[in-house]
Symmetry: C2
Subunit: 562 residues, 2 copies
């Protein structure tokens, strides 16, 4: 027993938890209307693991022996379930492929080191054997960063950091904690909260992702407006490389040349294995509120969000959904919750009389933290901006509801897959001046792609993570592929996904704000950071890992691998 | 005529401006007491340029021809004055050496490109000729980043960006401006202020440093608490490399793998020549105030500054001087200004009666910007923290005075050099929990070094640039070296400087918070970012510049150059 809990091998989250629409009466009609999928249709049961044809492990006795000596026999696993769990992340292509038993290359062995010295021994053994090492945290990656290249001939070792899950120390004076990289979000926060501290990092994947994974992919969280992206939060770290450890001591800021810290952030295992990090911790806030607002249009909402970003208010959460996502959110309300029933209808009637086109309304959440005076002042500042753009305040109820539900969304994807629907996300960031065009062109590109492949599709979007100069746009799209085979479905999926990503980079937006590059987005790297910028990155990765032993194939486009 | 103004070849700032102590009656007695230097002694006149023995340029006709074709005959300069100006920055060792005519290696030619295509032509010509390229902005560097290696046998080309000094565009909606790298601080702010914008970046070198220089060294400014360090401010850039241009489009944030932007920041010319950048711009603030406070002790001041950094206040400037620097500041007051004469004495009498040891008092400046409500609320928050730590508010007068004088300090160094005194600075950053020990150990190490070399020396310090997890400590030290020759003086200087820097890295503080590595600090790089971290950096730089044509010798310790 490794003692490390994993997500379902075939889907998001833990066994026994699933999305259910039966207490959300408006959802089925909404989905049927938009993409023609009947939520009440009988779904396929989850696939049967025993039906999978899992390739046998390819590993020499010598390497097995060294790994066993490094981490102990019970922490070297080569059974099929372990290896399949470590083959994929949880992106839509991952889920479609694993459900279909598409397993061209599976890690040959999974190891669970207990500490940094064991990580060092594993890394050294892997490189000495000219094998391939893929670090694995919570397995929640959705950019294809975890899957071995299909044509990889060398032994593939998955290094699962799940046993390295402790908060090692809290420097209360500096607001820093030293934490092992394999800790998952809830476990980390439990350990910290009990001492009165929080990191405040809340990506959608929070429940099943790890500190090391956040660092490896440059993660952001719902509250990043206050707490910072993981790149801001991470002040020092240790990373094991073949034969040595990079040690970056915790520093508030430094001018030691090109930032090695910022080279490791986002490196997806290609520079080594992060074993622990010093991260910002904060006292649990005195007050915490998430307030919902409603805008009459997306343009009004965007303009308001930009104004908030340069105002005297510094909210912790800034989020606004476009009209489609607002409609979707309303359709997924439980009858007993939120802006409910009659009260909601009464409000909408009032707004309609004021001339609102309710089909265009956009729902927004703004979070506040701090002393009572600060929170009140910021609400006033935001309230004035919202009103100036024709918006209204809905209040605390919907905000609290959003706060409770925020980590449940990924389960919907599996539910849709069960009944034949494909849903996925693409997110980007761009300057405020470009956001309206990025938004319009992306939704248009998706609609055109749906048309091209002859499906009914739906795309919705929210803005989150506001910065001085711009923000993140987060798109979710769904469609009924109209074909059965995994390969045929994924071809259609990629038609849509590529249309969206290409629009991002064509318009000066980035290929990803916080999901990372992985293999799924590597195709657009040169268009994002320029060919010469890609050369710089290749110089770095190739110099550190000339033998391509460390998670090869991620980040860098295939034709630029060495 | 290149049309580019330069600083004095032998000192800081412009001809005709010099420091004068005659209107500061307390200064001469203070300095005499602390380091035994008589400010009223007759100073040596500035050195005579004609006395210098400037080595002849070593450059082939072919390269001269290519450079002339690239930028035009009048923008290729090889006269002695131009070459000496481009030999050194303005660090203390630079000034001592240039005044002494110590010119073992001088750039062979200085070129002034007008635009990026000319920069490209110069870079390509230099690399084709296997020469060495050193980019030059305002020449204010104080880490030894501008000086050619003494033993460099190849032709050395100084590329002066002074003609590339325009604000190219302002994206008002995104709060971003595209600005050429060669613009100096005041020129840039003039161009922006006239349109209602500011970058808000105010390093001490502001009047004689450039945007490109700030980026190349990871500069910070007095107002970085609000406006961010240059690494935060710079959202996109263009950098010329041999045969190509790295183009990073302006993005609020991105997860495109290891950050190429953060590799270029702090690269001191070793990856190429930054030609322009997209930087944050802000509307000129509605209100701007700098308030002075006085604490009874350094420990009380540090504790208060830490509390302010995690409070609901977000001041633009956070600065506090130790007792020595406070005494020095009081000694340099004009009789007619600041906390003046009788009022000051009356205040000090009151504090003495309250039990203050006025020799231990610490002067602090806190800056506020924003709407009236925000400024008022923040002053209240800070005021409560100051009082809780036994401090008192002095008010606006001293703050305004500091604000006016803040860029004049560097002139004092030349004045001291004229009368035989050596003064320089070392700055670092560390977590709050380590700052008291870093402070004590550093001042002790300096005093021990003074003793070892048998001189009367003085060291003072201020804290600035507060972050969530720590702050910058900025030390200034001065002594009368007691010997005459430049080499002998510098030997003594390095004894002190090395003792200070070694203490930083021994105690977990960084080798520099914002002056960069250059050649002066390269010795401590491995102790700061670890040997393996240095390997990562070497992989990057060597991969990009295998022939060591781009500012070789900076950042990387000599024994690690390839």
């Amino acid at each position: 027993m490794t003692g490390v809990a994993h997500q379902k091998w075939w889907g998001w989250g833990v066994e026994g938890v699933a999305f259910n629409h039966r207490d959300k009466p408006k959802m089925a009609p909404f989905v049927y209307d938009k993409v023609g999928i009947d939520l009440n249709a009988p779904g396929s049961p989850p696939p049967n693991f025993d039906d999978l044809d899992v390739p046998a492990p390819r590993i020499g006795e010598e390497l097995t022996g060294t790994l066993t000596a490094a981490v102990g026999r019970e922490h070297v696993r080569d059974d099929d379930l372990e290896r399949v769990i470590h083959t994929y992340g949880k992106g839509l292509p991952d889920l479609v492929r694993v459900r279909a038993g598409d397993l061209p290359r599976v890690p040959d062995v999974v190891v669970y080191p207990a500490d940094e010295s064991q990580v060092q021994a594993v890394v050294d053994a892997v490189v000495a054997a000219d094998a391939v090492l893929i670090p694995f945290g919570g397995g929640s990656n959705i950019s294809g960063s975890l899957t071995p290249p299909a044509d990889e001939q060398r032994t593939v070792v998955s290094l699962d950091l799940g046993r390295m899950n402790r908060v090692l120390e809290v420097d209360e004076e500096a607001g820093l904690a030293r934490i092992q990289a394999g800790v998952q979000g809830p476990d980390m926060e439990d350990q910290l909260n009990s001492r009165g501290w929080t990191v405040g990092h809340q990506p959608d994947s929070f429940r099943h992702s790890t500190l090391g994974g956040w660092i490896a992919t440059r993660s952001s969280g719902m509250q990043s407006d206050k707490y910072g992206d993981i790149a801001d939060i991470t002040r020092g770290l240790r990373m094991v490389q073949p034969g040595k450890v990079v040690v970056l001591r915790p520093l508030p800021s430094t001018s030691t040349g090109p930032s090695v810290r910022e080279m490791i952030l986002g490196s997806e295992g290609r520079l080594g294995v992060v074993t622990e990090a010093w991260v910002h911790v904060h006292r649990l806030p005195e007050n915490r509120d998430i307030i919902a607002y409603l805008y009459p249009s997306w343009d009004a909402a965007l303009a308001a969000m930009q104004e908030i970003s340069v105002s005297d208010a510094a909210p912790t959460v800034t989020r606004v959904s476009d009209a489609n996502e607002t409609q979707f959110s309303l359709s997924t309300q439980k009858e007993s919750a939120g802006l409910k029933g009659k009260a909601q209808q009464a409000l909408f009637d009032v707004l309609a009389r004021r001339g609102w086109d309710l089909e265009q309304a956009c729902l927004s959440y703004i979070g506040y933290e701090g002393g009572a005076g600060k929170v009140k002042a910021e609400k006033n500042v935001v309230g004035r901006i919202v009103r100036r753009h024709g918006g209204i305040k809905l209040g605390r109820g919907p905000g609290a509801l959003y706060d409770q539900k925020k980590f449940d969304t990924p389960y919907i994807r599996d539910f849709l897959l069960d009944i034949g629907g494909l849903a996925d996300v693409s997110e980007t960031a761009a300057p405020w001046s470009k956001l309206p065009e990025v938004y319009m062109a992306t939704t248009r590109a998706a609609r055109e792609a749906f048309e091209r492949i002859g499906v009914r599709g739906f795309i919705m979007c929210h803005l989150s993570h506001s910065y001085h100069s711009g923000a993140c746009l987060y798109f979710t799209f769904a469609f009924a592929p109209g074909v059965d085979g995994a390969q045929e479905q994924l071809e259609r999926y990629w038609t849509v996904k590529k249309a969206i990503q290409q629009t991002f980079v064509d318009l000066g937006a980035t290929l990803s704000h916080h999901h990372g590059v992985g293999t799924d987005h590597a195709h657009w790297l040169e268009e994002d950071i320029s060919p010469a910028g890609t050369d710089v990155m290749v110089s770095l990765l190739q110099g550190v890992d000339p033998g391509r032993n460390l998670n090869p194939g991620t980040i860098i486009p295939a034709q630029r691998e060495w």
